[in-house]
């Protein structure tokens, strides 16, 4: 995936990183190493501890214990770390009354970019996210997707070495989401930017990320490439619909079949490669005179992987999300 030398360069090293809010452990002794140039995903349900982890890495929160380095600098050296990272927060952080350009201008100044460099870079990042002709409008006239794109552009303004994206497509419609995926991919593949994103959308992690850490209750419960994760699920599932599922179960004796589960009207067969297994299975069935009504191939998704590790779906917890936001806002105000 990445070339030889880069393989050894770590952009981020996380050691036993822990964050407690009172007695509650939001992030529980996480260990992780992220390579330079990697597009890395933290995948997990609401409240898993993704934002907390990212906020600690971006120097917005102090770890309770453990530590992390970003480009070999301890995150406790806040200003040095801040200079080299770009951060797109989960919640909007633009000034609504200013224009897009003014928001970027402010950012450039805060990162001490010289005037010419600033002007050029503003043009560049606006173009990158396709907002050139919106630059002079106030943010309050932007759509959700446009705001998100501008925030990504802003995160890139000062040429960070690492970009953090906290739920980059949260609440956006599918088409806008697709567009943002393209920008993220472009940044990673064309500009070689190291990107760490969090998401609770399986498809997003699957589509974008080189590697994924699945996080639940503050712990990393799986860490691998999306492909490998899906492979450990044992491959494709063929759902074969037939009235004679019992007889079919008996005659299917291929050694490449990993698993079979019989139901009244259908038989589930797990195989490494569903596409090439279908013809063999159909042939065997017709030779035995078993009538097959339909065959569905189900590719395992990260959702299945999540269920495999936690025994529940990621979305089961979504209903809690509004309460979560409320409690977080209260917490924020208390400090």
């Amino acid at each position: 995936m990445k070339d030889g030398i880069k393989e050894f360069m770590s952009a981020i090293k996380i050691k036993n990183l822990t964050k407690k809010f009172g007695k509650f452990i939001a992030v529980d002794s996480i260990n992780l190493e992220i390579k330079e140039g990697e597009l890395f995903g933290l995948l997990g349900p609401n409240g898993a501890g993704k934002s907390t982890t990212l906020n600690m890495l971006a120097t917005m929160m102090m770890p309770t214990s453990g530590n992390a380095t970003i480009n070999n600098v301890e995150i406790t050296s806040q200003d040095s770390v801040r200079r080299t990272i770009g951060m797109v927060f989960q919640d909007p952080s633009l000034d609504d009354e200013l224009t897009g350009k003014e928001n970027l201008e402010f950012h450039g100044r805060m990162y001490h970019m010289q005037k010419n460099l600033r002007a050029n870079r503003i043009e560049e990042v606006l173009k990158l996210v396709g907002l050139e002709d919106k630059a002079k409008f106030q943010i309050k006239t932007y759509s959700g997707g446009m705001k998100r794109r501008l925030e990504i552009a802003r995160g890139l303004m000062h040429h960070p070495k690492i970009l953090f994206l906290d739920e980059p497509t949260l609440g956006l419609d599918p088409q806008t989401r697709r567009g943002i995926w393209d920008y993220i991919q472009k940044l990673n593949k064309d500009e070689g930017l190291t990107i760490i994103l969090t998401t609770h959308y399986m498809e997003e992690a699957d589509y974008l990320c080189d590697r994924i850490a699945i996080i639940d209750n503050g712990k990393i419960i799986a860490l691998d490439t999306p492909e490998n994760m899906k492979n450990i699920m044992g491959g494709d599932i063929l759902k074969i619909e037939t009235r004679e599922s019992g007889s079919l179960d008996k005659i299917l004796k291929f050694d490449w079949i990993k698993d079979k589960t019989r139901f009244d009207d259908y038989l589930n067969v797990t195989v490494a490669d569903g596409g090439s297994a279908i013809p063999d299975i159909l042939k065997a069935a017709s030779e035995a005179g078993i009538k097959i009504d339909s065959v569905h191939m189900i590719r395992p998704s990260l959702e299945d992987v999540f269920i495999h590790y936690t025994g529940r779906t990621i979305r089961e917890q979504e209903a809690d999300s509004t309460n979560q936001i409320k409690s977080m806002m209260n917490q924020w105000g208390k400090r």
Partner: protein, 253 residues
């Protein structure tokens, strides 16, 4: 961190406040009606009941109203950092490689500039209407206006660091801002008030500001404008320092 960088950061924060101020001109223009309502109604209403030796009451009152508009604008400016927190922009500021004291100083200077401009408008119109004389005293009043503004923006920031949202704003107005205003000697001379009230007014930062402005503009003062200036300078520096501590505390987790 280099001084030059710090200066640049303060300027950046200040600049944003200015940009937002210019954008909200109309809102601010309407807020300027209030001091003139006070000035005209109280000024003419009390003109016969309150007598100031050698000065019509409205000339005595005008410096107080200048102090009032600066007080109100400053406190609100400081507290309105709550909006930055609610709308998330504060995070954008906090994640940047910028020292927390630069942020507090930039915010304070931004709010203070706006408040001072408001004070200058009231000062200008009062002079134009002949309530107060225009002259060297006018220039002398400006440092006092700036120092009041700085002190109270910083006080607003301190209050905001302990406030969740704007819900508590009315409370702050009733139990902090109004007493500060009424006890400052803005509306009546503090010479003849009961001793207890006089003592309290010594702890009111605004009383030194009003006394300094009035001393500069119309030559009436309780403690002398040098004392006023020294005390106010101390209060401004103290408020900014305390504001920085409180801001750091409120943004750490």
């Amino acid at each position: 961190m280099g001084q030059e960088i710090m200066f640049q950061d303060i300027y950046t924060i200040w600049l944003r406040e200015m940009l937002k101020f210019v954008r909200a001109r109309s809102r601010i223009a309407s807020s300027l009606a209030m001091p003139f309502i006070w000035l005209f109604i109280l000024g003419f209403g009390f003109s016969s009941s309150i007598t100031i030796p050698g000065l019509p009451y409205i000339g005595f009152l005008a410096p107080g109203i200048i102090g009032m508009i600066i007080l109100f604008t400053s406190i609100f400016s400081g507290i309105s950092i709550i909006y930055d927190r609610q709308f998330g922009f504060l995070k954008e500021i906090l994640v940047a490689p910028v020292s927390r004291s630069s942020i507090v100083i930039g915010k304070t200077f931004g709010g203070a500039t706006i408040a001072t401009i408001n004070g200058l408008i009231v000062l200008g119109i009062s002079s134009a209407l002949g309530f107060i004389d225009f002259g060297i005293g006018t220039l002398l009043a400006i440092p006092f206006m700036i120092l009041i503004a700085i002190s109270f923006v910083a006080m607003g920031l301190i209050i905001a660091s302990r406030m969740k949202n704007m819900e508590g704003f009315q409370m702050i107005m009733s139990f902090l801002v109004m007493p500060i205003f009424l006890l400052s000697g803005a509306l009546f001379p503090l010479k003849d008030v009961p001793d207890a009230m006089k003592v309290i007014s010594y702890f009111d930062p605004l009383s030194y500001g009003i006394d300094g402005i009035r001393g500069s503009l119309v030559g009436i003062t309780n403690v002398g404008i040098i004392t006023d200036f020294t005390v106010l300078l101390g209060i401004s520096v103290g408020m900014i320092s305390f504001g920085t501590v409180m801001f750091k505390k409120s943004t750490q987790s």
